[in-house]
Each structure stands twice: as C-alpha cells, then as structure tokens.
C-alpha cells in the first residue's frame, strides 16, 4: 500500500502551546513539510522571533537561533553570509517585522540578502496580551486601542509587503491567508516557492500570512477565519505582490 | 634626545602629511615616534593640527603639552598654539598667510612657504618647504632620510609627485639657510 500522508521529520511530536484556533501551529507544520519535501532539513537554520512563536525551536527538528525582538533579519544576514550553503529563514510576527524591526527588515531586503521570510500577520501583539500592532485594522479593538484603532491617533494599517515590493533587490513577495483549506494549500505553495528561491540563489523572498488570533480578536475559531476572509483581506488583499 | 613638535594650519595644507613624513624619516633613522592628529569634524579649510614626538628613548604620552618646535602654517594656528612653545623653542612660520610677524619666540623663523610653493608650480608643497626649513634649523633629521620617507609614503598612483616634493624640501633648506 502506498503511504500518502505522514508526520514530517522536521516536526517534533509535541502538542504546541498555542491557543485553540491559532495559525502558528499550521504554519510550523507547513514549513516542516516543505523542509522535508525539499530535503533541506540538514541545511536549514531558522531564526525564531520574539513573540508567540519564540519557542518554535521546541517544535522544529532542525537548527534554530533565537533573535532579539525585531533583529531576526540582522541575525539571519550574519548566518547566511557566513554560511551561504545553509538555508536560512526567519519566522516573524507583525510587531517584530513591521514595528520594532522595520529598519532591519527594510535594509536586509534592500541588500537583497538571499533569505526566506515567513511573516505572520495577525494584526495584534499576541504574546504580550493583545496590544495594537502596526497591522491592526482601523476600528479594531485591542488592549491599547480600547475604543478601536483611530487613524488620527495611530495612523493606518502598515502594508509592509507593498513597501518592500518597491525595493529593486526584493525578488518575491506574496500575501496568503489561512482562512480556508484552500488558503492553507496556497500558503504552503507560496512558502515553498520562497524556500526554493533561496535554494536557487534567487534572493530575498517574503511570504505574508494572514493568520487567525481568536483569543485577542475575541472571536471563535470559525469567526476568525470568516473575519480574515471578509474583513482583514479587504485591507490586506491576498495574491502575488512581487 | 626627545623632540616634540606641533604642526598646525588649515585642512588641505598637508599638515597631517608633513607630520607623517617627519615620523617616517625619524623611524628610518632608528628613532621612536608617535603621531597624533586632530580628527573628526575637520573640513578642508578648517583647523588641522598634528602632534609629533620623535625620541631616542621610550615615548610616553603622545599628547604634546609643550613643544620643542611649532610649525605654523596660518594665522589662526599661531593664536591657538603660541603658548604651547617651550622657552627657546623653535617657531617656524609660514609668513605667506600671516599678516604681522609675531612677537613671540626667541628662536623664530618666518618665511613665505606658500608663495615659494607657488613659484615652484604647486601650492600644495608649502608643507615640504616648511619641512626643509625644519631640517635646516633643527638638525634632528637629515635630508636623505626625509627623501626616503617621501618615497615610502607616496602611494602607488602618485609616484610622479615624489620629485617635486623633494625639490620643495631642498628649496626649503636653501631659503632658510
């Protein structure tokens, strides 16, 4: 009998610490499957962010380096330049990549570092208790925007992927959404493309994943997926950006 | 023997280079040296100076509080450093860029190095004329060592300038004789 489904070698057999309905676990698994499929597990070095996914190294069965909040792409730059034969990726949230790490993000992209970036956009800071993120939608209630995000006070949702697409050295940017099984499959193929780009020395590749955070959106898991589809992806349209 | 020198002028006059040629020549002569530049927010035309120590003994602080020789290439530098000259120290002045000869210094020489440099065809070698004056007056360094220093310091692409620099040193020695 032909085996068509199995547990990825790159994923440790553990229950994750994430809340019910969270997108992190799905993306961790997708990355693990991709690493197995591309047969790069022995070459991969991941950079774990500060945020909910900081202990991603508990789940992945390959080398991982922790980075300070926002500094993942600087750390990744160092590793990849020193070990160009390894496959180096960062896994970052919206606060990490688009607020405190904006400078590192833009300059690593502008240098055209041959890196893969998995950018989880769930429009809030999860680990610290659901504060406003740069990607929080207008009107969205968070711990620090109790009356909803007000553009006159806090500006607008930051579209970092569109910003990065302006840079000559950036090779690939795609936005995907974990709002449905189809969305999960598209997410996998986009992230796989971003890894393949690095294997083929094409250059800086980033996949933005619209990912549910039911806890701090104060929704059920199902409502969260609907919200991504009906509300969030209006602000952050899915598809190939570059 | 310890000789402490302050060389001062404006950025672009080759102040740092003059200091480097002196220390290189001293080094070739088997002496210990330190060279300490003014640095940072300096611009072409702004103030520039360097402190040079050459000695047959160990050199401690590279900072020159009191100088045995002061080489002054413009007016503001004289005001800034004239108190730093030791009693009976040598004051070597570029008179081309100084309105009135100073009262200070028993042992001062006063020559128009910039004008002489223009006569030789390159305003930028006024520093080497001053070096000639220094060699002539202090007898610490020889002309031969200064020539070798220039050959060693000149970058690969600028070897053509060695000749005119040497000529300037000779002229400096001649006019201050």
């Amino acid at each position: 009998m032909k085996k068509i489904f199995s547990y990825p070698t790159s994923l440790n057999k553990l229950t994750t610490h994430y809340c019910a309905g969270c997108g992190h676990g799905i993306v961790h698994r997708l990355i693990s499957e991709i690493v197995d499929e591309l047969n790069i597990r022995e070459k991969v070095i991941a950079i774990a962010p500060v945020g909910c996914a900081v202990i991603a190294y508990n789940y992945w069965n390959f080398d991982v380096c922790e980075a300070a909040h926002g500094r993942a792409l600087a750390v990744a730059t160092g590793i990849k330049r020193y070990r160009p034969d390894n496959i180096v990726f960062t896994y970052q949230g919206d606060g990490d990549l688009a607020a405190i790490g904006t400078s590192e993000t833009i300059h690593a992209a502008n240098r055209g570092e041959n890196l893969t970036v998995v950018f989880i956009n769930n429009a809030v800071y999860g680990m610290t208790g659901g504060q406003m993120a740069p990607t929080t939608l207008l009107g969205q209630k968070t711990a620090t925007t109790p009356a909803g995000r007000d553009a006159s006070l806090t500006g607008y949702p930051l579209k970092i992927s569109e910003l990065l697409a302006q840079l000559t050295a950036v090779k690939y940017i795609e936005r995907v959404a974990l709002d449905s099984p189809q969305g999960v499959l598209k997410t996998k193929s986009a992230i796989k493309q971003a890894f393949r780009n690095q294997v083929e020395n094409i250059g800086f590749s980033l996949v933005e994943v619209l990912s549910p955070c039911p806890t701090y959106w104060q929704m059920s898991a199902k409502q969260s997926l609907d919200w991504i589809r009906d509300v969030m992806s209006r602000e952050f349209p899915v598809g190939r950006i570059k | 023997m310890t000789e402490k020198i302050i060389i001062a002028g404006s950025g672009g006059q080759g102040i740092m280079l003059l200091g480097k040629v002196i220390v290189q020549a001293a080094l070739l002569g088997g002496l210990n040296i330190t060279w300490l530049p003014s640095y940072g927010a300096e611009v072409r035309g702004g103030a520039a100076y360097c402190m040079v120590i050459i000695s047959s003994e160990e050199i401690f602080s590279p900072y020159v509080e009191k100088a045995d020789t002061l080489i002054i290439m413009n007016q503001p530098s004289l005001l800034k450093f004239k108190q730093r000259l030791k009693h009976k120290g040598l004051l070597l002045i570029n008179s081309s860029l100084l309105r009135t000869p100073p009262k200070e210094g028993l042992n001062k020489i006063y020559f128009p190095f910039t004008e002489e440099a223009i006569k030789l065809g390159n305003i930028r070698i006024a520093n080497m004329l001053a070096l000639g004056g220094y060699i002539q007056k202090k007898k610490v360094l020889s002309k031969a060592l200064a020539f070798r220093a220039i050959e060693e310091i000149a970058p690969a692409g600028k070897k053509n300038l060695i000749k005119i620099n040497k000529k300037a040193i000779e002229e400096g020695i001649r006019i201050t004789r």
């Binding site: 080398d63 160092g78 590793i79 400078s103 300059h107 | 401690f60």
Partner: protein, 350 residues
C-alpha cells in the same frame, strides 16, 4: 599604523571572518580598513544600517561558529548593549571594540575613558560580564586582538577592547607577523560543536537565552556565574612597574597609563619611590596586582573620567591604603603639571 588600523589588522590576522560596523568618529579608520582588508582576504564586511543591526549580525555569525567582530565609539556602544546582553545570555563569543569618546549623550569626539562602568559592570540588562581588555599602545592594540579572540572562544563570552580616541587616532610603528598566525587561527573556527551549521549527522542545535521553565534560568545563571568566577581567577592581567620599592603607586589604564608612566619615570629620576600598576584586563579587574605590596603607602588613580576604575581600586585595597584620584573627562586630557601639583607638594621639573 594608527591604533584603529592596528586593531583591524590584528583582528584579520586573528582569524576574524566577518565584520559589521556603522560609521562613528573616532573609530572610522577601523571600519574603512576592514572594508579594504576583508575583501583582500576574501572574508565578509558589511556596513550595517545601525549599531543594532551590526551587533545582531555579529550574533548570527557567532551562532554559526565564525570569529566575528564589530566596533564603534561610545554612543554606538550604548546602542549595542541589547545585543551584548543576548550574546552573553546565549554564551556566544565575539569581539567588540569601543574607541571611547566624550559623553554623556552625543558628547564630543575627544578621547575619554568614561565607559569603564558600562564595559566592566555589564552594560546591558541581566547579570553578566564581558571580558574587557585595555591596550595602551598601538603595538599592544594589535597584540591583544589575538588574546581577545582566544578568550572569547575559550569562554564562549563577549570580549570588549576598550580604547580611547587618542589610541585609535595615534600612529606608532608596530611589528606584525602576518601569514603564519592567519592560517592557524582560521582553522580554529571549525571546532565549535554547539554552532549552527545545519543538523547533519547530529541532533539540532539551538542558540537561545530564553528560559521560561521554572528554575531553569536560575540554573543557567549559576552556570554563567561559575564561568565568570573561573575567568576572574585565571584571566587577570596587568603590568606592574617598580612595585618592589614604591611608596606611591599610580594606577591607570590605556592612554592615561602612558601619561602616568612618563610621570613615574620623571619622579624616579628625582629619587622618589613611585611605581605603576597598569590594568590590562579591566574585567576581570587585576585584584592580584594589589596583593603583597606592604611598602606602598598610597595609590593615585588617574583616569579620563570622574572616577570609575577608582571604585575597583578601592575594593582591591579594602580601605587598608590611601587611595587618591585625579581625572578629567569630556575631552580634557589630564596634564602632567596639574597631577604633580595636586599630589606632590614639592615642585618637580620633568
């Protein structure tokens, strides 16, 4: 060679494979030298977008097993403190050069020794130490780079080279033996079992400083403290002069020690029994230098600060001897005559 260039050349010869830095005076010659030399030897140079990025690139290379360095001057070193704390927490080796300038704030670009506390007492958050070495000549700046990389690797710990603007800018002749050392040191970087290289034929390596499980971080801190204790016992270094007969001992490091040395020789010529202790390792502070000196009546600490190393000297002598101090900061360089006037009643011509 200038001090800045000597440090850079020393790093290259000690096997530094990667340098990242951001422009700041008075250490720009170091960055420029690295830009040229690293390309010549086929290694990596990056002008980073910030000090934060530079120190985190350093963290990445160190995690991946490479000998790595960054450099800056005081305000830039403040920015690097975040990264230094993470490097210490992750037990990653690296070399950080601080060519100190006047502070606080943007301060000025004149030489200063006002970052002694920051360098020796931690600097970033958490209970950690960097090893701190203070060269006082261009030759020593070159030579100490070899020790710096060795110590960093041996203890898996950041090492700070603490110089000042005068040392960075001044030129002195140096002896450097080039080829042999370079190849030896380049080979050594391959033997780090903990490094991230891809988990081929081994279980995954993880570089981390986050330990949330109850009691785990305390355990890690105890491991760090044990390491620091070992460093304190084994790695104190200093230069002592005329300590056998000295009644008065100057204590000074770096550029300031050169001024002290000149004073000491001048005073000895007058028949005065003066000596010098010049700490080379500032952390660990050379407590041993102050042991068994029964003849010493007083120590005179000289710094280009308002008394930072002074505290360590006081701890070293445990109130048993008189400790006096003279210092200037903010760009002022202490003059021989003002030091003499303060501490020696007799007029001394040097």
């Amino acid at each position: 060679m200038t001090g800045n260039e000597a440090i850079a050349e020393g790093a290259v010869q000690a096997g530094c494979v990667f340098y990242a830095g951001y422009p700041i005076t008075p250490q720009n010659e170091l960055t420029a030298y690295m830009a040229k030399r690293m390309a010549e030897v086929g290694r990596i140079f990056i002008q980073s977008e910030s000090e934060l990025a530079a120190i985190n690139m350093v963290l990445g290379v160190s995690a991946a097993g490479g000998r790595v360095m960054t450099s800056s001057s005081s305000p830039g070193i403040s920015l690097k403190q975040e990264g230094i704390s993470y490097l210490a927490g992750c037990q990653l080796p690296c070399v950080i050069v601080n060519i100190m300038r006047g502070g606080p704030g943007l301060g000025n670009i004149a030489p200063s020794q006002s970052d002694y506390f920051q360098a020796t007492k931690g600097g970033g958050h958490g209970d950690y130490h960097s090893i701190v070495l203070a060269p006082s000549s261009v030759q020593e700046a070159f030579d100490l780079m070899f020790s710096a990389f060795e110590l960093a690797d041996r203890y898996r710990n950041p090492v700070i080279i603490l110089g000042d603007g005068m040392l960075g800018q001044m030129m002195e002749p140096i002896y450097c033996t080039r080829k042999k050392r370079t190849t030896q040191n380049a080979q050594r970087t391959t033997q780090k079992k903990w490094a991230l290289t891809g988990c081929k034929a081994r279980s995954p390596n993880i570089i981390r400083s986050l330990f949330l499980a109850e009691g785990k971080l305390e355990e890690i801190n105890k491991i760090l403290q044990k390491k620091y204790k070992k460093i304190q016992v084994q790695e104190q270094s200093w230069e002592g002069l005329f300590l056998e007969d000295a009644h008065t001992v100057f204590v000074a490091y770096g550029t300031m020690a050169r001024i002290a040395r000149g004073l000491m020789y001048g005073l000895r010529k007058k028949g005065m029994k003066v000596g010098l202790i010049r700490p080379i390792s500032l952390w660990p502070f050379p407590l041993k230098a102050f042991c068994n000196l029964p003849g010493v009546r007083r120590y005179i600490v000289l710094e280009m600060s308002y008394g930072q190393m002074l505290e360590d000297v006081r701890l070293a002598v445990e109130r048993k001897k008189s400790v006096e101090f003279f210092g200037r900061a903010g760009g002022g360089i202490p003059k021989e005559e003002e030091i003499l006037k303060k501490f020696f009643k007799k007029k001394v011509e040097l």
